[in-house]
Symmetry: D2
Subunit: 385 residues, 4 copies
């Protein structure tokens, strides 16, 4: 058994949401050891949270800068840091770890400003560090298969690319009523310029881009706030002109009753179309023009090599969100260990894992959409260099 | 049994598509007698086509103007004309019939120019004639129920309204290869300024508007042609700002493999959301915020009075496209007979049937989208006065 | 236009259910003229009902025997009689019409006793009359296609054949509370020995048999009554051993909340499997072993010649129950007209239309299931000679 | 953090299927430490397999009896053994561990003979040991919710209970061609008297029973072998008379193209019906008679307390097979730790976890079905005392 990757976590204390998800995901395949943490900015919460998840007291830090400094000096120090704080802290936290030679696994969005995103791209390159952004839907086996099929030309010339992420949890003004997850996600100081795009829009955008291989060249956005008094937008309707000739839409809503977490992507080429939904992640609908629609199932007949590589269960023993997230972690662990060991990193494998540039593209997308919408009607350039 | 409404048809000869659909729809409930026709501009085809469907030779006309003139003079002349020709002929044909005091049932789009649409609205009013536009999806029982639910406030304040009509039949350049249906629908002279919006976009737009009760105030459109060499667009991505506060999208595509005729609408309010798809027209998904999604079924538990009125079969004995179209015809027959008899027309019933103003709104929507897209990025006013 | 087939109807007066369905179905394609009727055993209801549907008074009969006698003598007399009464009257009514040389179109089940069924088979043969039993689900385009695919060997050797018809409308004791449809359907005197099998089980059985090409050799049945006090069964669980090697189940229930009219069939061979549901009648799920499941759509890519022949609409303009029923009527009209004209009847076409032998097979199936269940546990022979 | 439960595993070496699944499931929640193993009867394979999963050499055993003896003597010895061998070894392996005071977690079916099953029930009671049978579908959150709803009387008096488990993987004679999983599962010496019931039928039976609260009183079975030359059955059609008044069916097939692992249950009462499918495990369809069908979603509106307790993710971040299996392991760990610590075991919690009696009921079901089918047509008693 290969040595497990040693990681520390910043954020993710008690009552936090996404930190616990990361821990489930990193545990599933037993390739990662979570050995240190600065789980909360509140020292007591940090300590209690660390104890609960088995981090020894001496490696539970009240301050992430201290954690970066101390861990970098230990012979058994962490090799990578996992950042699961609110959005505005991603860049300030990632920076000292990168500088200390520690690789980074950071939740999305990469940052709340484009300046920060550009700086992180530069710094990661300068320090030659791996920087994974957990745009986790790329971990679904059938998303990987969809990407392979597009890349192999099975859809032909791509004509249209659409993605949507639709939720209902902000239908009522729960942010104004003190619900913590809602509060920070709709706070410009912590979420950034757009709440709905930073929280879920970047997932839809990244999914569309990951599968289609296209980047956004221009966007036209209509961002709006359905709930009176909310500090940021909760709905985004965005037209996209993709690289190549494709056009499409990115829709994001957090006020759509009947949808909990409804992420989907549809791609059409001149030879075929395909569709995937996070509500039925084990399936891919594939339609060659002139033939019947086929339902491809993870692990089943017609499953691709890559989708089989990231499957643990036979077909129709459903894998889900945690498994997809774990796929990202398993690949991330492989890449970071190889890189730190001076081994060549498999390029095909690396391409499956969103990195700091993919993260920055998401930030650029948000910035461009905000610019377009603010201008009251103009296409805005959206391509990250 | 009430006397059947006497109608004549213009267009719809052999090999035409939509004329035969109209005839099935008008026959189903036995409220309409098709007794005259100018089924083709080719006299021989007109005669043969008429004979095939049981129109007596003396009432088969080679010219629609002649038909209007002669039928208006007969004591047993037609009471209404059904127009099922290519788009550009709708206005020229409707005009002489209106002037002859004959009511009109016209396929969509109402016309290819806004000027024509405005003229038809004025003329129908001046002549006090009923003018039905067969935006036939309004005939589905569950679309009617959806409309009732929105009107009754079950969704609360409307926040978002989306509709889409997705097809695959123009994925390949069959128009360039002489397929007749494709040829005229992509010809600016016969289809109008936008092929995809005139052919299917107006259906999506009308459906969104019919159910939500909103009209388009402004649109921003990205129209494009996926198939090289095609004379008109085959895809439309349109952002809409609706009257009231709602925003949304209208998408139309004829180059999306995997979709034959995929029409759908989604509406979200601050109390509930609802969704309907023409692929499963018997169902309505309804989600009150904070409750489980319910599947309402035509004729089943929770079916509304209006949806029951337009049902012929018990729940889950599926009704479909023809039945929906027939609902439109049955209501149209009732309205026209009442109007011609000088009886009061039931206002609630009349509101279910798209008229010349609804048709003109569709034409205005197309014109606004074309204007926006041509301008290369500007919101265009879309409200028909 | 070919002369329409002249038919009369017995049963189907006001408030009856299935008679109105038959009239919609026979009207859709305009191949049938309903010119006479004995619509009710109550003379006044018969007269009023006839007037409502446009039957002239002189051809509205209070007695079906009188109708058979008089119509047989008219030069423009009916060519076929449509029987839509409760089950126990099918045989007594069909008999005088057959004897008068009039063809028969009879609702299912053919009769309430096997003796009656056998007599009708003999009489129809002796009189050389066409006898159609409206096992109407055979009219669905995709059911026809399924049958073709099995017959063409696409499934290989058939291994398992299952069908089910599940309803909820008798969940409560509405028969005891005077609901008329429920009352006669659960009355041994009018429904026969099994309510659930006579009403819906024969549909499931016929569908399984029609598609698979198999007949029931033996059945083992557990019939039971879920609602206390009901006079007949309302649920049937039946194991079947089919001709050839296939085995399977026929399930019927009228007390299953959540199901209005849920008819389905599943057939598996050693090469492929297929599934069809009356809730989504436009689709056929087809799975070659080792390949992805394909969704075949009526009118779409992969649609067979026969399914195209009985389609009126393009793919995804849904056709439903009435259209399927109309397919049966259109074929019945063709067959009866050809037969009466002394023309050869197309054998392939004739095989699509359930006849008196198919009806008798259903009666035999019911009788065998009742015998098995009554015996408390024994396989019963079910093959109609 | 509570001390993790120390377990050892018998079976589950390289190339085995289900052992790896158990390890994923026990790892997810970090409540179990796998510290010992007799992973293969082949000593070399055992050693290599142990090394691969981090079991230290001294606790890797070539013989399970040795493992039971040695581990029982260690102060840090295993508290429970996990048995993941072929069916015929479950009883011989469980026995020495029970006798050594070690609790048991055993894969299904409990045993291949009823005698063995009875002996295990007696021994577990005599030794006062916990004995969990991993009938893992009981771990799905929405299965737990379904069970609660039935128990709370939401369905009323239960009338019908159906379950099915349909696969395709044995459509071709791969057992004869040396595929290892297929080979032992169709071998009477290792699988027992029925292949299809032992492999998947017991899952369907257990699911039906777990959710409905009913036990099988009598069964009538038609077991058969679709693939010529196969040593055991591959299809089972079973009628069931349940305790109380309900009746139903259990269907199992491994030769149905188009189905990978299609497990489902449907239960109808006189107040409501509910349906669950392992293909969409996050949903429960619930229909109160007279109301619209509701789709209950794990973690969503209407989710029950128990379903929330066993959820890790928000609604529509899909959980799947591994998570359900992990729910079973987490509960098993809690129960065994409490029991070993002399603490009271929460009865409601314990009732969620299938034990040796549930396992024995499955074995009795298989034996009864085999008896019925062999007798050529007789109801067989199926109730385990």
């Amino acid at each position: 058994m290969r040595q497990r990757l040693r990681v520390g976590m910043v954020g993710g204390g008690r009552n936090a949401f996404i930190g616990a998800v990361h821990r489930l995901a990193m545990r599933l395949d037993d390739q990662i050891a979570l050995v240190a943490g600065a789980l909360s900015s509140d020292p007591e919460n940090a300590a209690v949270s660390a104890a609960e998840i088995g981090i020894v007291p001496e490696r539970s830090y009240a301050d992430y800068r201290e954690m970066a400094r101390v861990e970098a000096m230990r012979s058994d120090g962490i090799e990578a840091v996992v950042i699961v704080t609110p959005n505005h802290l991603h860049a300030p936290i990632a920076t000292p770890f990168l500088e200390a030679g520690i690789d980074v696994i950071c939740d999305k969005p990469l940052s709340t400003t484009l300046t920060d995103a550009e700086a992180l791209v530069s710094l990661a390159r300068a320090k030659n560090r791996k920087f994974v952004v957990t745009l986790n839907n790329t971990g679904y086996a059938m998303v990987r298969q969809a990407r392979e099929m597009v890349a192999a030309g099975e859809l032909g010339r791509i004509v249209a690319v659409h993605a949507a992420y639709i939720q209902d949890w902000l239908t009522l003004p729960i942010d104004a009523e003190g619900q913590k997850q809602a509060e920070w996600r709709t706070d410009p100081a912590r979420a950034g310029q757009s709440a709905v795009l930073a929280d879920i829009g970047v997932h839809a955008f990244n999914l569309a881009s990951f599968v289609s291989g296209c980047q956004a060249e221009q966007v036209f956005a209509d961002l709006f706030t359905a709930v009176p008094g909310r500090r940021l937008d909760d709905n985004a309707h965005v037209l996209v002109r993709w690289t190549g000739e494709a056009r499409g839409t990115i829709l994001a809503s957090q006020t759509s009753p009947g949808h909990y977490n409804d992420l989907s992507v549809r791609i059409y080429g001149d030879k075929a179309g395909l569709e995937w939904s996070g509500l039925r992640p084990e399936e891919l609908r594939f339609s060659r023009h002139g033939e019947e629609t086929r339902t491809l199932v993870r692990g089943g007949h017609g499953a691709s090599e890559e989708s089989r590589r990231v499957s643990r269960m036979p077909a129709a023993h459903p894998e889900g969100y945690i498994e997809a997230f774990a796929n990202l972690y398993r690949d991330a662990a492989d890449i970071i260990r190889a890189h730190r060991a001076g081994e060549a990193v498999d390029a095909a494998r690396a391409a499956q894992v969103p990195d700091v540039v993919d993260g920055a593209r998401g930030v650029k997308f948000v910035a461009a959409a905000v610019a377009s919408s603010s201008a009251g009607g103009a296409w805005a350039p959206a391509l990250f260099p």
